[in-house]
Amino acid sequence: MSQKRYILVIDSRKCINCKACIVACRAENRVPLGHSRDRINEERRGSFPVLLATFEPEQCHHCENPSCVRVCPTGASHRRDDGIVLVTDDTCIGCRYCMVSCPYNARFFREDRGVVEKCSLCSHRLDRGELPACVQTCPSKVRACGDIADPESEVSRLLDKREYRVKNPQTGNAPQIYYLL
């Protein structure tokens, strides 16, 4: 079997800003109040009656060339072979260089434990063959997570037939959240 490569595909236009993904993530990963591993960027344009509101879910982009992993002095931030970028609690010294280096502000500092935390793409669930909590819970089916190396997977099929973009590719991080257009 070939090596898996997990990515996230997001169809922002379906997002209704219900924030169920944030709540599900908090419950699944015991994220402390005051922080969250995912967020929804809101943008409002125009004035009544010509208005536009857009909602764009965002979290760690699990970059192929992650700057957080490069700058980490202890190797606590690392990228698994299946593309998931993780922080090992035990070796994180809390220097926060990764937070400063992340172009997507996808990380936060956990004051109670003195370590940096971020979206793990629910690697523990993926390893069991389940979907990440945010993907599982989304009521309007904004999110898809799967193996881009498998041409039959949902994410591969979505990217085959739809146009998409990634955020700020100019940073050179090769982000792996694909936003459908």
Partner: protein, 314 residues
């Protein structure tokens, strides 16, 4: 909105690390000149005695800034050449070690004996190392430059922050660090007039004029090149060109911390430049000048640490 993660502890540390690097640099330079003129020995000695302390204090602040300060040893279980912080922490430890041995080599016999007795260390450590001074200075010299450069590379190597992401930051920090080392010596020599020899002050002024000029001609291209760069860099420069750090940058750093001391130093050394006359050397002016240089160095690091973290790709 990006969050400020690195605060004043980091600003202080970058400043203090650079200060030690500057002091060691001046000491090694003066030791070299001492071969021709023994008057330089005092300069080399004072800077050698001062050099280890700022970096030791700065490293302690750095450790205190960690989320888990007691895990700092994990830094030394790894060497990751792609991480400026990993390279930097090794550089810092080695540099601090060298500055301490170098300091030891400058201590007279009775001071060493007294120190060993007070620290309850075996008297066999009481070795005369003065013959090793040139060797230690030669080994430490690249480390001092390395520490000074690394404080800038730490910021400059971050692609996500357009305000930092240029090698000019490292050069700016290097010359600012060396210049602040000069300033500390000018301050010490001017506050204790009996130590004063005009030749030493003249040497320090000349060296500092050289360093400040270099720094100025790096700040200038930083601004020009930034304006000619991609949109994200131009946007980030707005922070100092018309944003929250404009006064800090133009008035406090560039005006009071760089150009005013440059003018004072040129004014003081003009007589010595064009004739064999001695420099003016007004002591109060020298103290003011040194304080301004140190203030400017501190402001530079404050502006870069804070403004850099606010800058981002939009």
């Amino acid at each position: 909105m990006p969050h400020i993660e690195w605060g004043f502890l980091i600003v202080n540390y970058l400043f203090l690390g650079g200060l030690s690097a500057g002091l060691f640099f001046v000491s090694a330079f003066a030791l070299y000149l001492q071969q021709k003129d023994p008057a330089y020995e005092r300069l080399a000695r004072y800077s050698a005695l001062l050099a280890p302390w700022p970096v030791a204090l700065g490293s302690s602040l750095l450790i205190l800034d960690l989320g888990n300060w007691y895990r700092f040893y994990v830094l030394f279980l790894h060497f990751r050449w792609q991480s400026p912080m990993s390279i930097g922490s090794w550089l810092l430890v080695l540099f601090t070690g060298i500055t301490l041995v170098y300091l030891w080599s400058w201590l007279p016999q009775d001071h060493r004996t007294g120190l060993l007795r007070r620290l309850k260390l075996p008297p066999s450590l009481n070795r005369e190392l003065s013959h090793l001074r040139p060797l230690l200075a030669a080994i430490g010299f690249p480390f001092s430059i390395g520490v000074a450069i690394y404080t800038g590379v730490l910021l400059g190597a971050v692609q996500a922050r357009p305000f930092w992401n240029t090698n000019l930051v490292a050069q700016m920090f290097l010359f600012s660090a060396l210049s602040s080392g000069c300033a500390v010596l000018i301050l010490v020599l001017s506050l204790r007039p009996k130590l004063l020899e005009p030749a030493q002050i003249r040497f320090l002024y000349m060296l500092d004029i050289f360093l400040i000029t270099l720094e100025f001609f790096i700040v200038l291209p930083y601004l020009i090149h930034g304006q000619l760069s991609v949109q994200a860099v131009r946007d980030s420069l707005e922070l100092i060109l018309g944003g929250p750090f404009t006064v800090a940058f133009w008035l406090l750093f560039l005006g009071l911390g760089l150009l005013l001391p440059l003018l004072i130093e040129i004014f003081e050394t003009v007589p010595a430049l064009f004739s064999k006359a001695e420099i003016h050397h007004n002591r109060r002016l020298a103290v003011l000048n040194a304080a301004l240089v140190l203030f400017g160095g501190y402001m530079l690091r404050y502006i870069f640490v804070y403004a850099g973290q606010i800058s981002a790709f939009r």
